[in-house]
């Protein structure tokens, strides 16, 4: 029983990062109607960015967020301007196909780059306070992972506020809902796309930093995280950042429960089962709007 509770807590902590990873993907997919299959690679880069800052400058990874996030914003802006900005010029059908091609190409390129720069070995950031644990009764909560969960929640809440209150945040939501109406209202949708992509990349970078300090990273984690993010996005539906976060927690806990019930190897399977079930029963996701 204690073991189960412990597993659930760990699943919850990991689920927060799933939610953060998914939020970035959801934002880009919802606004640009582009599925960035290189999203996991952007997470991976965020992790290596933090790793570099730690290894070369001795910077604490949580402090490194202050550099990784702006850096990822710029990277996202650059990737949009140089790459995805061209993909969005096609209409929706061609757009999805092109985005997969471009995304996979980008993912391969980033993967190769990472192997070149950091080798294929697993890396992890070990800080002085790494082993600290908060003990609640019989449950041990690793402090780093708890802090990561809180940071993830703060970032998601921040994004939610940005989209709700900031003028361009509203423009992004409007563009996601009806880009033609957005144009007729005077919104430069190309700029909305740029901002959304940059924000999505920033979230990925932040998620990567948190993964590198609480878990480990390697050049190959990209695909795994893209899939996890996609499962959470499908479960949550588009349109709610907070809903995406909750869905991430759900997947984290579901994974923990299935590993406890069926054994370790079934951990990943439950995510895919959820994916299929949601698509069949409620395609718009738990928190999404039903499509017109």
């Amino acid at each position: 029983m204690t073991l189960l509770a412990q597993q659930i807590v760990l699943g919850l902590l990991l689920g927060g990062l799933y939610g953060l990873a998914a939020a970035g993907l959801s934002l880009v997919f919802g606004v640009l109607k582009v599925l960035n299959v290189a999203h996991g690679e952007l997470i991976m880069l965020g992790g290596y960015g933090a790793y570099w800052l730690f290894a070369l400058l001795g910077m604490d990874p949580f402090a490194a967020l202050l550099l990784v996030i702006p850096g990822a914003l710029l990277l996202g802006a650059g990737l949009y301007t140089g790459l995805f900005g061209f993909v969005v010029r096609a209409h929706e059908e061609t757009r999805i196909k092109n985005s997969l091609l471009v995304g996979f190409g980008l993912a391969l390129a980033l993967h190769a780059l990472a192997v070149r720069l950091w080798t294929a070995d697993d890396r992890s950031i070990s800080t002085g306070y790494g082993g600290a644990v908060l003990t609640v009764g019989p449950i041990a909560i690793p402090l780093i992972r708890l802090a990561s969960l809180l940071v993830a929640l703060a970032l998601i809440a921040g994004l939610h506020l940005l989209l709700a209150r900031w003028r361009w945040g509203k423009a992004i939501r409007a563009t996601a809902e009806d880009w033609q109406a957005a144009l007729l209202t005077g919104i430069d949708i190309r700029r909305a796309y740029l901002l959304a992509f940059a924000l999505g990349t920033a979230l990925a970078g932040a998620a990567g930093t948190l993964v590198s300090v609480g878990y480990s990273i390697s050049p190959s984690i990209g695909l795994e995280w893209t899939l996890k993010a996609l499962i959470v996005v499908v479960l949550a539906g588009l349109g709610s950042m907070l809903g995406t976060f909750v869905a991430g927690l759900f997947v984290g806990v579901a994974e923990a429960l299935s590993a406890a019930a069926f054994g370790g190897p079934y951990r990943e399977v439950v995510g895919l089962v959820i994916f299929l079930v949601v698509l069949v029963l409620r395609p718009q996701g738990l928190f999404g709007r039903a499509s017109r």
Binding site: K170, E177, Q180, A181, L183, G186, R289
Partner: protein, 239 residues
């Protein structure tokens, strides 16, 4: 102010507009009438920048509009109330109106614009924080007109504003259009409600099969036998 000359547009191989020439002068209310599929929405699409015409010219206040991106056309003083309203349903009345004043020129005047919109449509002030999706068709139409007004337009274009709206609300919206026009805004009105449109309009064009087949003063067209037979029903044609 707005001048279309020889406009040609098509969707793939299907022609939508052929040699359309029309103009809207400052302070005018011009109605654009015609059956479904005549090309009226396409025409508005060309002016607003969403549809690229194959040939012809569109000029606004003497300058060519054809190479301008849609969001910049709004900045120049043209605003559209699209068919079916195309509001941002998941957002509030206030957010929709605020987004209407997105372009820099409109943004500078947004406080006055909002006051004017609420003066025209008092119902909306009470509902400003309601999500638009929850409003009735007529109320949504008011939000749509309000959103376009927030752009501080000099020309307001409406695509079938009375479609699917209860008659009393249609009356209210048309009255609002008269007031808007009185304040100096020119109006290009695409309408199925021919009688209402012709009573309102200074001039009107009739579009059939992508071509302009009739043109004249509102009152004159109301009396024209072809118009009466085609658009005002059998009872009207007799009189």
């Amino acid at each position: 102010m707005l001048e279309l000359r020889g406009l040609e547009a098509a969707y793939g191989d299907v022609p939508a507009l052929s040699g359309v020439t029309l103009r809207v002068g400052a302070g005018e209310i011009v109605a654009l009438l015609g059956p479904n599929g005549a090309g009226k929405s396409t025409l508005l699409g060309c002016v607003s920048g969403l549809v690229r015409p194959r040939a012809g010219s569109i000029s606004w206040e003497g300058k060519n509009l054809l190479t301008i991106a849609p969001h910049l056309i709004v900045e120049r003083g043209l605003a559209v109330v699209p068919e079916g309203r195309r509001l941002f349903g998941s957002m509030t009345v206030e957010d929709n109106l605020e987004l209407g004043a997105f372009s820099p020129r409109a943004r500078a005047a947004r406080r006055e614009s909002l006051a004017r919109v609420f003066a025209l449509f008092p119902d909306l002030r009470a509902r400003r924080r309601q999500v638009v999706r929850a409003l009735s068709g007529g109320q949504q139409q008011m939000v749509a007109v309000g959103r376009a007004l927030m752009a501080s337009p000099r020309l307001l274009m409406l695509d079938e504003p009375s479609l699917g709206i209860a008659p009393q609300l249609v009356r209210a919206i048309l009255d609002a259009l008269v007031e808007i026009n009185r304040a100096g805004v020119a109006i290009l009105l695409v309408e199925q409600n021919v009688r209402a449109a012709l009573t309102l309009a200074h001039r009107a064009y009739i579009l059939e099969g992508g071509r302009v087949v009739g043109e004249g003063a509102g009152a004159d067209l109301l009396r024209d036998p072809h118009v009466r037979r085609a658009y005002l029903g059998p009872l009207a044609a007799g009189g």
